[in-house]
Each structure stands twice: as C-alpha cells, then as structure tokens.
Point group: C2
Chain length 132, copies 2
C-alpha cells in the first residue's frame, strides 16, 4: 500500500457534501447498531481519540456520540469499503443502547406484510437517557 | 402501528435525491457485507421479489445485485432504523462474495497506524466474477 492511498482513504471528496456513511457494528454481538455520517474532521477525531465521532447532518456540527447520554462508543476496529467511501466502525457500546430510543440497535423494527414489527428489546427508558 | 406509518416507511422523502442508505448484513455470519443506495422503486422490487435491488448512483439506474455476476442476495429480513431513513437487509449471499473484488465483504481493509491492511480473504478471482 502506498502512502498516497493511505492519505486519500477514506475518500471524503467522493462524499455527499464531504460526508460519508459510517456504520457502527457491535464488537461483541455483531449487531448493526446504527448508521450516521462522518466528515474528515469527525473521522480524524475518531482515530485520534478511539471514540466514535460523527457529523450531524441536521445540526451541522460534530456529534461526539454519547456526549449527552453517556453512551459513548469505544472504537475497536475501523474498516473501509472497496470504493473507499463507506466506513465501518466496530465498537463497544457503553450502556448497551446505541439508539436514542433505548434499543441496542436503531434497527429494532422488521418489515412484515402487515407493517413494521418491533423486534428489539428496549434496554433503557429513553426519558432517562438524556438526564445523566 | 398505523397504516399511515407503514406507508411512509422507509421515508424516501428524507433521502438524498430520494435515495436512502441500505446496509447488507450476512444472515449466517453477521458480517456487514456492503452499503449501497435504494430508492422507492428498488425497495418495492426488493420486497416483491425477495432479492436485493439497489439504485446505482453512478449509473443512475436500478441495480439488481448479482444480475451480472450471478451473486444475488436472497433477502431474509428487512429492518428500518429509528429515523426511518436507513435500511438494513439481512441476506443470504449467493456465491459467498458480496464484493466485486471477490471478498465476502466490501469492508476487507482495516485501519492501522501504518495504513490500510487487508484482512478479508479473497473468495473469488474478480476476473472470473463477471464472466458467468
């Protein structure tokens, strides 16, 4: 691998307004926890600190996951995809719940012919999640 | 769950040019295989056929995964995230390799202080992948 390739990956220039999708996967269970966005700055801070830092598209600023709820993500592995434009973080999720609704995973609903069925177990009361 | 919610999820109106990120996860191993995009049409065809259909942002058309390589994805489960704007497909990957470079997962490279290290095993010679 050349130093050039190292520097150009992730390829934020290929992103949407400089943002790339970042997927968080639980290191222990393998569950896909959430998808968020990263810009170059949030990625650099993630690498430097070992904690997941995203970029909030709605708030238009860095989102240090867990800074309000305490549910930070310790990053155990960072993967890049073949095209260099999607990031996969393998994380230890402090508090168990990655989702602001109190579920382990944001993907707690499953498609059925009758509608969306909740299959995840709520680990935390969301009302308490942001009062720490 | 109301019928209205059923109809409005996934929330393609919240997407980027009508596109939402779609993550494919291997049903057997739990490995995150790839991330691609879906529009309403590709999602509807995925639900109707039970095979993963994405929308190619570069080719600007439906991408029936495996239509060239034969490596189709049988969809075993469809999940939606808390915001309704990211889709998770749990799939059986025919041929084992989801990645066009012949790896099981597109996320076959890991970040190290020295650069990106290939950690995935190449299952298929990519030169043969599109000659079926």
């Amino acid at each position: 691998m050349s130093a050039t390739e190292y520097k150009t990956l992730p390829n934020f220039a290929a992103g949407i307004d400089g943002l790339l999708p970042a997927i968080a996967q639980d290191a222990a269970s393998g569950a896909v926890l959430m998808m968020a966005w990263m810009n170059a700055e949030s990625y650099a801070e993630t690498v430097a600190t070992g904690r997941a830092v995203y970029f909030s598209r709605t708030r238009k600023k860095l989102w240090r996951k867990g800074e309000e709820s305490g549910n930070i993500q310790h990053v155990r592995d960072i993967r890049i995809d073949c095209d260099g434009d999607t990031i996969l973080l393998v994380v230890e999720q402090v508090g168990g719940a990655a989702c602001h609704e109190g579920y382990q995973s944001c993907f707690f609903r499953r498609h059925t012919p009758e509608g969306w069925q909740t299959v995840g177990e709520r680990l935390v009361d969301p009302a308490t999640l942001y009062k720490k």
